[in-house]
C-alpha cells in the first residue's frame, strides 16, 4: 500500500486546492502517470503516481483544500 502525499511545493506554501483527478477510484495507474492536479495561487501543478497499482481510495476531491503532508489517495500495488 502506498500513500500519496502532498509534497513540499515551495517556501511559504502550506496548502493547495485540489483541481483535477486524472483517475477514478478503482482504476489502474502506472508509475509516473499524471495522477492528480492541484492549484496554488496562480499555478496549477501535477503529482505523478509514485508507483503502479490500483487507486483504491481517494481522500480529497476537486475543490477541497489539502495541507502539505496530508494523504490524498492510496494505491495498492
Amino acid at each position: 500500500m502506498t500513500k500519496v502525499l502532498l509534497p513540499k511545493l515551495g517556501e511559504g506554501i502550506e496548502k493547495a486546492t485540489l483541481s483535477y483527478w486524472y483517475f477514478k477510484e478503482g482504476e489502474k495507474v502506472n508509475e509516473k502517470d499524471d495522477l492528480v492536479e492541484l492549484t496554488t495561487d496562480k499555478a496549477t501543478f501535477n503529482l505523478p503516481s509514485p508507483c503502479s497499482g490500483t487507486l483504491t481510495e481517494i481522500l480529497f476531491h476537486e475543490g477541497d483544500t489539502v495541507n502539505v503532508g496530508e494523504v490524498l489517495a492510496i494505491i495498492e500495488g
Partner: protein, 213 residues
C-alpha cells in the same frame, strides 16, 4: 544552458497553445533546457482551472459578434483576456535546473515584468499579495501558469497598447473588480516600439528563433 526563444508574432491562441505543448515536450525529453515563447494574440478569453464562468460579463452574442472565443485551459488563476495590444510570454522553464519552488518562480516572473517596465521609466509594483504587477493600483501584467513535472508553461501578459483595454470590460478580470492599465496609458502617448524586439534584444537571451506556425 541551452535556452531557446521563439517569436511567434501575432498568432491565434489555440495555435500558440499547441506550440507551447510541443516546446514543453522538447524540454521534457531534453532536446534543449528551457524555452521562451513570445507572441501576441487575436482577441480571446481564457478561463483557468478554477475559474468561474460567471466572470464572463458579456453575452455569447456579443462575444461572437466580436469574434472572441472562450477557452478553458489548465493554468492557474481565474479569467483573463488576451489581445493584440499585449505582449504574451510563455516561459517553458525546467525548474529542475533552478529551484523546485512555485512561489519563487512566480516571484521571478514578477521581477521580469518590473524590470521590463523600468526600461520605460514605469514603476511596477506588487499589490496586496496578489500575483501580477500593478501601476498606481491598476493592473498592467497578469500571471497564470501550469507546472508539470516541474516544467512550467502558460505564463504572463503585459498590457502594452491602450486600445485593447476596453475588451477587459467583457469580463471580471481574475474574478475581481479591478481596473487594468497599459504601458501606453501610463506614458500617455503612443509608443513607437515593437515590443517583441525590445524584449528579445536583451543580452540575457542566447538564441532566438523566428517561427511561423
Amino acid at each position: 544552458m541551452d535556452f531557446r526563444v521563439f517569436d511567434l508574432g501575432l498568432v491565434d491562441f489555440q495555435k500558440a497553445w499547441q506550440f507551447q505543448k510541443e516546446i514543453f515536450t522538447k524540454v521534457k525529453i531534453g532536446k534543449f533546457d528551457s524555452g521562451i515563447i513570445l507572441c501576441r494574440h487575436y482577441p480571446v478569453i481564457t478561463l483557468g482551472r478554477l475559474a468561474n464562468r460567471d466572470n464572463i460579463l458579456a453575452s455569447e452574442q456579443e462575444l461572437s459578434s466580436k469574434g472572441i472565443q472562450v477557452h478553458k485551459i489548465e493554468r492557474g488563476g481565474d479569467i483573463t483576456y488576451h489581445g493584440p495590444g499585449q505582449l504574451t510570454i510563455y516561459p517553458i522553464i525546467n525548474l529542475n535546473y533552478f529551484k523546485k519552488d512555485i512561489h519563487w518562480f512566480l516571484g521571478q516572473l514578477e521581477e521580469v515584468v518590473i524590470d521590463f517596465l523600468s526600461d520605460f521609466g514605469i514603476k511596477g509594483e506588487r499589490h496586496n499579495g496578489l500575483t501580477g504587477i500593478w501601476v498606481d493600483k491598476k493592473k498592467i501584467a497578469s500571471i497564470g501558469i501550469a507546472i508539470r513535472n516541474w516544467i512550467t508553461f502558460h505564463g504572463l501578459s503585459i498590457n502594452i497598447k491602450k486600445d485593447d483595454l476596453s475588451n477587459f470590460r467583457l469580463i471580471r478580470p481574475c474574478g475581481m473588480d479591478i481596473e487594468m492599465t497599459s504601458i501606453e496609458s501610463v506614458l500617455n502617448k503612443k509608443e513607437a516600439f515593437p515590443p517583441k524586439s525590445r524584449l528579445a534584444g536583451r543580452k540575457r537571451f542566447m538564441a532566438k528563433e523566428e517561427v511561423i506556425i
